[in-house]
Amino acid sequence: MLMIAGVIVAVILFGIGLLGMIFRRDLIIKLLSLGLVNGSVMLCLVSLGSRANGIAPIIRGPENANYVNPLPQALVLSAIVINFAILALALVFVMLLVEHYHSTDSQRIEHEIKREREL
């Protein structure tokens, strides 16, 4: 039950992120939507590994408790750090681009680049 709800919400978030990346012209909001798509995939992975009435995979006492699947959580941990690295570097490039063209509008930047290339 939790798994199904988690996966459905993750797919809906993926759709929202995708639509945000396509339809918003502001570069910063496109980057935010990229982070949202990343987060939705991570939510899907973690909720696939969860279990009803489970407990966190940290062994405290008795051996045969109902532990949640620990493997997706390990993958998601790496994914979060890699997501941060991607976003930080992409933001550096966006900052340099904005400082050069004085606008965060993606269509206007493309227009200026085309004009520069024609000159």
């Binding site: 759709g15 062994i59 699947n69 620990p70 959580q73 991607i86």
Partner: protein, 236 residues
């Protein structure tokens, strides 16, 4: 032209909704890695000696992926440092004044946040935490100081060449530590230290050492990213 644009929007929205619906309908809601997870859960305490199974997985069974993840983080820090490296002394612009609340709270909160970061790093094998979250939390403590005092003021307190040597030296040690057991005559990657009894502070093989090194690397990397961002855009 406007109708065409609205039509494009509606078409794309319908397409994305159909995609989401297809994924939801034909998704197999089974745990794909259930048996593997059960194997890890049953074998981890005795083989690795760590209580936190997630830590045991990404620092023992799947150490290879974690090494490359550290490398990706280092490349991101390198990229930030390279592209934001030209610092021209800007004309004095009127700074937006900083409030007293931020300064006082930075005084008050810097030690506890830093301690929490160190605690998260060192107890990664016993409770949730680990090198990444501990390093980032400690970096957030420095971020609070930088917001209150100014990034250049905080940056002057570090000796830059030492920081750079420490950064890359720790990375080198993290990448070569898995190969060290070959010298001693055991299998590579994780057999450096014995597992020990589960639940004690000194247990878990080479997991605490890895956590500490990763924590230091991520802490310095986070500080470099914050410093270069704030320096490039002017003081906060």
């Amino acid at each position: 032209m406007r109708y065409r644009r609205i039509g494009l929007i509606v078409y794309a929205t319908i397409l994305v909704c159909c995609f989401c619906g297809l994924v939801i309908a034909f998704f197999s809601y089974q745990e794909p890695t259930r048996e593997l997870g059960a194997i890890y859960l049953s074998r981890a305490p005795s083989e690795t000696g760590a209580a936190n199974i997630v830590s045991a997985i990404y620092l023992n069974y799947r150490l290879y992926d974690t090494l490359f993840e550290i490398l990706i983080f280092s490349v991101a820090v390198l990229g930030v440092r390279f592209y934001l490296s030209d610092y021209r002394e800007k004309e004095i612009v009127e700074k937006i004044p900083e409030s007293q609340i931020v300064r006082t709270s930075a005084d008050l909160f810097f030690p506890p946040i830093f301690l929490i970061g160190i605690y998260l790093t060192l107890s990664g094998h016993l409770s949730p935490g680990g090198g990444f979250s501990g390093g980032v939390v400690a970096g957030t403590a420095l971020l609070l100081c930088a917001v209150a005092l100014g990034a250049n003021t905080v940056g002057k307190r570090f000796h830059e060449p030492t920081l750079r040597w420490l950064e890359w030296g720790v990375l080198l040690v993290v990448l070569s530590l898995p190969l060290l057991p070959i010298v001693v005559g055991r299998l590579p990657f994780t057999a450096l230290l014995p597992p020990g009894t589960m639940g004690k502070v000194i247990s878990g093989g080479s997991i605490p050492i890895d956590n500490l090194l990763i924590g230091i690397r991520v802490f310095i990397g986070t500080w470099v990213i914050i410093h270069y961002f704030m320096r490039h855009r002017g003081e906060v």
